[in-house]
């Protein structure tokens, strides 16, 4: 399924954005903040002594992580997702750059589950 097709189907019958769309957005937000924390803020702290970098990016990533986890549970609570797929979604939040692959995984899962 292409991104355009996903966007077209990204609304619920009542006009709300679909949970899948929110999950994709939250996974990308989480992935970007984790990458910035690991690749920019932490090196700046240790190499250049800019502790403020991690003091800002740490909480921002923490918030992104919480939003992502909330969105995962909000989406998978319909009971149609396998435990292994849920574990993959949760674990991807802990591995730098793994979150960038999550949107493709979500689309693949969505295709496997049938359009919801």
């Amino acid at each position: 399924m292409t991104g355009q097709e996903l966007a077209q189907e990204a609304r619920e019958p009542n006009g709300e954005r679909s949970p899948i769309k929110w999950l994709v957005a939250a996974s990308l937000f989480e992935a970007v903040t984790l990458a910035l924390l690991v690749c920019v803020a932490v090196p700046l702290k240790h190499a250049a002594g800019f502790e403020i970098a991690t003091k800002i990016m740490g909480p921002v990533h923490g918030l992104a992580f919480l939003i992502y986890l909330w969105t995962v549970f909000n989406t998978v609570s319909d009971g149609s997702w396998k435990a292994s797929a849920i574990a993959r979604l949760v674990l991807s939040a802990f591995v730098p750059f793994a979150g960038f692959l999550t949107p493709r995984f979500i689309r693949h899962q969505r295709g496997a589950l049938g359009r919801r």
Binding site: E12, P59, L63, N74, D78
Partner: protein, 143 residues
């Protein structure tokens, strides 16, 4: 006014957001428990679910977001992230957040005419116990 003079305001707003979130989460849990389990809802019950879902989106979910933002700001400012009481409290916060996420998803499906209410009996006990432990950990800071 310095940032540290502003801290009591942050704490007050955090507690206020927790109260709104707790009221919303407990309220919607009780309403879900009162709905018929493991069967489709009548049109009237579906309308009730839609109303609770709107309330959740406009009040409870934003309150949870505010709880997270203010809580993280307080913990960073006070240097609490290394303290055990906060780490234990965070586990219960994650449980409450996950339960709210699941419940919010269920309300959305019920409001759209799909989904069934299941396993609500134990949920209220878990939520109340988690809120009690969070309050004790935050106020007493036992370890």
């Amino acid at each position: 006014m310095t940032f540290y003079e502003f801290l009591p305001w942050l704490t007050g707003l955090h507690v206020a957001a927790v109260l709104v979130f707790a009221g919303g989460l407990v309220g919607e849990t009780i309403i879900l428990a009162a709905l018929p389990q493991n069967q489709s809802l009548s049109q009237e019950q579906q309308n009730l679910a839609a109303f609770v879902h709107r309330l959740d989106r406009r009040l409870t979910a934003p309150a949870l977001l505010l709880v997270w933002i203010l809580g993280i700001t307080l913990a960073v400012t006070m240097g609490w992230f290394s303290e055990t009481w906060l780490q234990v409290k965070l586990v219960f916060v994650l449980i409450l957040s996950a339960l709210h996420g699941m419940q919010s998803g269920l309300l959305r499906r019920l409001a759209n005419g799909s989904g069934q209410v299941r396993g609500q009996a134990l949920r209220l006990t878990i939520i109340l116990a988690a809120f009690v432990l969070v309050a004790i950990l935050a106020v007493v800071k036992p370890f």
